[in-house]
Amino acid sequence: MKITCDREQLLTAFMTAATVAPSRSPKPILRNIKLEVTTAMTTLMATDMEVGIRIEVGGIEVEQAGTILAPVSLLGSILRESNDDKLTIESDENGTVVRGERSEFKLPAENPDEFPAVAGFSDEAYHDVPVRLFKELVRRTLFATDAESSRYALGGVLLEMEEEKITAVATDGRRLAKMEGPARSVGGHGLGDTMTIVPSRAMQLMERALTDTDAEIQIAARANDVVVRSPRATIYARLVEGRFPKWREVFPSRQESVQIEVTVGPFYSTLRQAAIVASDESRGVDFTFGDGTLVLAGSTAEVGQSRVELPIAYDGDAITVTMDHRFVADFLKVLDNEKPITIDILDGESAALFTTDDGYGYVVMPLARE
């Protein structure tokens, strides 16, 4: 194999792929990255057997096709430390040589045939999802996952796909984030009742690997795994095994509750102020709605107390809900400051529901007095 590559472009693709390769593994071969060169295209591949990625690299001049394995840490350092715009990579049975204008690195040869296969995308049934939406699905739910849960499979994001819709849900059992948007089923995909829980790490990787926000991706979910294809990258992930709780049953839909509209920026600022006196031990902030004002009050023994007001359009009976301020902040963090949101509350012992006008819903269970 012999190629000349654009160092920047290779580095960008390499860094995405490298996040998949395990730094420690009982299978040392996985600490390599596979570079597959045909006359048509050049692909980088990495896997830890749970998650796999194939990512296409641009800016390659192919002199001779072929395949090599290179240790992730070594190749990464070379690509980062080199000052050259172009590097040539050449290999034979004795090893791989990376050459710059005034530099040369020799890397040991490993047999590329021993590297596990990294699944590609060959499915006929899939969902078309706009990249822009998919990135929001991930960004707005991923933070609510919980890898530690022993009761349910909460270490990933649940994807539910319908004829013209995709819904992503994540929860840690105390709060729940749900984001949905329009998507299109092709070939009858996703209309059964398989439970697609994609590991957090894979979701993160997908979000990161998808750069072209105007494009569409294809998602094909099967019983035990999922493959996502974008114009540049294909990502494979084994699904999280186990049961996701019946989230629709706890997602509030109620008539008798109170709905209050606020804007993210001022609300978040009020919350951050109230949380100044919060501690790891007392994370509760009292949200009292009433009298045209939302009062946020925090209190920690030996730290202090806070009371911060925000004018709101609500004059009904006062309602106080105590919530973990970090849970509320997690939701506000992923939204733009100008975004209007609706807070839906019932009483101090029922879940608070935060919604936006673009398919995002977030449920927070309050802290209750014993």
């Binding site: 929860t171 059992g173 105390r174 709060r175 014993e370």
Partner: protein, 403 residues
């Protein structure tokens, strides 16, 4: 001298005090009128009907259908308890609270300043009555054991003094079940032996007691003689809570270790519950026969005071986080840190039946132990460590942690 101050029907009395319209009606704190939950306290009117604490609310409802059932306001009771404690602390710094409604006070050093123990006891009763409108029963005695018995003898509004020169006269006529650690099982053994009073028990040779009751026999023999040398230890703001057990014979059987871990977890969790503390981090300590000592910690996603959850965490550390080596354990310890004193708990989106069930189980078990002594109720698995080790577990083996 030691004082044992025990508030009469504490939770119910606080409710009656705050809502005078309840006075004269049967009041049950804890449980719902629909009959769910457990009675935490009943006032004396309700007790006339046979209602008592630790009873299922459904049963209380049957015995006394017209009782007023109230949700416990633990936070409020804790505030009142703090006010009561500040009364105690005016007389002695040596106050050891046992729970919200009872405490030991060592007034030995205060007698020259505040007068004899009896008059301190009267003053405390008066201050609690006048200042807080609550009634306390007080036992005055040379040690904790006797003071606790004394405070119970003339409830409510009791004041009983045990003269240090007349301990036997005081104890002898009392039924043997008055002794700490005599529950149903031990009580039945005494029935078989024809022992009904503490006086009769005292006359048995200590060897006989040891024969029938093991170590507990010695302990009961001492109590029957009025011997109890525990010291009143004022509670300090704890940063951690732990219990350890050193074994006379090293333990090689993982099942026995798990059983001991359950018992230690129970002790730790029980202390948390008494002090209304939850902990987020659980610690395991293992010392091997060669004195290699290993400690492991695990932080839970939510603070807990549930025995089962503490135990699961330490068992997981024992089975998954120990080095591969010969299992021969000399000491085992369970601890918690990262303590949360908050009275607010994060609610779950999805009903956690196992947590709720275990939490209720703990509550009931604590109540039973309060009433009948700490050995009156044990978990089946925890009792495993009492059985003889299986044969064939000797000798060095690797990876014996199970699972």
């Amino acid at each position: 001298m030691i004082l044992h101050v025990d508030m009469d029907a504490f939770y119910a009395s606080v409710e009656e005090r705050d809502r005078p319209e309840l006075v004269g009606s049967p009041v049950v704190v804890g449980g719902t009128p629909e009959g769910r939950g457990v009675v935490a306290a009943a006032n004396y009117v309700a007790r006339e009907f046979g209602v008592h604490s630790a009873m299922p609310a459904a049963q209380a409802k049957r015995l006394c259908p017209h009782a007023v059932f109230l949700r416990p306001r633990m936070e409020h009771y804790a505030e009142v308890a703090a006010q009561i404690r500040s009364v105690f602390e005016r007389y002695t710094p040596l106050v050891e609270p046992l729970s919200l409604d009872e405490a030991f006070l060592d007034v030995t050093g205060s007698e020259s300043l505040h007068g004899p123990a009896l008059s301190i006891a009267r003053d405390i009763k008066r201050e609690v009555r006048d200042g807080l409108s609550l009634v306390a029963s007080v036992g005055v005695a040379p040690n904790q054991f006797l003071a606790k018995i004394a405070s119970d003898l003339e409830k409510p509004d009791g004041l009983v003094v045990v003269d240090p020169t007349q301990i036997q006269e005081f104890l002898d006529p009392l039924p043997v079940r008055t002794l700490w650690g005599v529950g149903r099982v031990t009580g039945e053994k005494f029935d078989d032996l024809g022992v009904r009073t503490i006086g009769q028990l005292r006359q048995l040779p200590v060897k006989t007691l040891q024969h029938h009751l093991g170590n507990n026999g010695t302990h009961l023999w001492e109590l029957a003689h009025g011997i109890d040398d525990r010291v009143v230890t004022p509670e300090q703001e704890a940063k951690s809570i732990s219990h350890e057990k050193t074994f006379t014979d090293d333990i090689k059987d993982v099942a026995v270790l798990r059983a001991w871990l359950l018992e230690l977890s129970e002790q730790v969790a029980c202390r948390m519950r008494r002090q209304s503390i939850n902990a987020k981090t659980v610690h395991l300590k293992v010392r091997f026969d060669d004195f290699q000592t290993i400690t492991r910690a695990h932080t839970l996603s939510e603070p807990t005071d549930v025995t089962q959850e503490v135990w699961q965490a330490v068992v997981r550390m024992l089975t998954q986080k120990m080095p591969s080596r010969t299992l021969c354990v000399r000491l085992l310890g369970v601890g918690v840190s990262n303590l949360h004193h908050g009275t607010k708990t994060q609610m779950d989106l999805f009903e956690d039946e196992s947590h709720d069930r275990n939490s209720r189980l703990d509550e009931i078990a604590d109540n039973i132990k309060d009433k009948f002594g700490s050995s009156s109720l044990q978990r089946g698995l925890g009792m495993l460590h009492n059985i003889e080790p299986k044969s064939g577990t000797d000798g060095p083996n690797r990876d014996q942690y199970g699972e």
